[in-house]
Amino acid sequence: MSAGEILLNAFFYVFALVALGGALAVAISTNIVRSAFALLAVLFAAAAFYAFMRADFVFAAQILIYVGGILVLIIFAIMLTHRITDVKVSNDSSHGPAAFFACLCVLFSLVVVIATYKWNRGVAPTEVEVAGDTAAKRPPVRLHLGMLQGDGKTGAVRGGMILEGRGFLTVETRELPPGWTGARIQIARAQKAAKAGDPPPWVAHKWAEGASTVEARDLPLEAKPAGAHAASLELTGLPAGKYRWSVALVPEAAGASPSPAAGFGASGESAACDFTVEAGLSRPIGMALMGPYLLPFEVVSVLLLAALIGAAFLARKEVKP
């Protein structure tokens, strides 16, 4: 494990301890003010988890709305509904043992499900066909192109989008005819179109590979169970933008050129897969809220208005006739 990984784990488990201790304190503290401040710890720890998950917009919303809004509201309510003298022992509970047993059972079943279920972290693939070459007697091959985020082995797939930072491109094929050993990966980046409405021109993208920059990379296709073969390429520091990556199979013979199926532009698009690199979640969330989620967004705004009026109506002073 690298030092960064150790540090990441250490910070994560510190925040996990804060969250669990806070949640327990909310559940069993006899002092309601202490409960409220324990809730503060839980909310901050949840914000930290969003940061660990690279969900920056949710992180900011959590702190602004939960910590800055809801928690302050709750503390206000505590102060308004308790005299200073009875704040100390004001949080009595009932049916403790039975509820504890029931909650323990629920927790046990949840943890068993989480630990035993095989969470799908395989590549969500785009299937493409690499055309064969009759002259060279190469049959066509079906390739599965996918993307991974996180560490290449267990990381997660994000369909069509990775965040700036670390990402993995993976190639998987169910059948690999003899004579082919590797995959050549090339990346193109979309440039600004000359005229609005034109499709963006694709330009080969050079990326850093150690000390040098490379334009293409040959990867050996490693054997996987059930006859499959796979290769994956780690990408770091791709700037935000639209990308297209393509795969060509590399024949065994030294010096031979790769299979012509993959390439950029009109001829090789069938063997390519598009992805975008996002600088953060803010832009995708904004696009989603103003696009497919526009109606729910508006409905929620009406609901907020209704809640505002309702709260003001409930909290107003009774006017005696």
């Binding site: 494990m1 969250a19 949840a46 709305i65 509970s93 989603a288 609901l303 909290a315």
Partner: protein, 112 residues
């Protein structure tokens, strides 16, 4: 340490987050079930909502082809939690003005 290594956060982020959110959820349920004070019950509800939110974002970020939908849903949940907290606290203050306390088992005027 080496035996623990495959189970750490950097290796299995999804499972780690799911277990933590399960514990937070159970604490919230326990709070809702056992408390008499209405404000405490509201805090339990916030715990449950937070556990659900952590699950949403975790699945959105760490599972195949989930896209952005989990994170968008979390934004809606946070907004609804804010609205719910405002209305519930207004009700609680109304109960306090009428009964002088905020114990939920005392507010039984609507009991048949």
């Amino acid at each position: 340490m080496t035996t623990l290594q495959p189970y750490l956060f950097t290796q299995r982020p999804l499972e780690n987050l799911l277990v933590i959110s399960a514990i937070i959820f159970v604490c919230g349920v326990y709070t809702i079930v056992t408390r008499r004070n209405a404000v405490s019950i509201l805090m339990g509800v916030e715990l449950v909502l937070n556990a659900a939110n952590i699950n949403f974002v975790a699945f959105s970020q760490f599972s195949p082809a989930a896209g952005i939908h989990g994170s968008v849903f979390v934004i809606f949940v946070i907004i609804l939690a804010a609205a719910e907290a405002a209305v519930a606290l207004a009700i609680i203050i109304g109960i306090y003005q009428n009964f002088g306390r905020v114990d939920v088992d005392q507010a039984d005027l609507m009991k048949g």
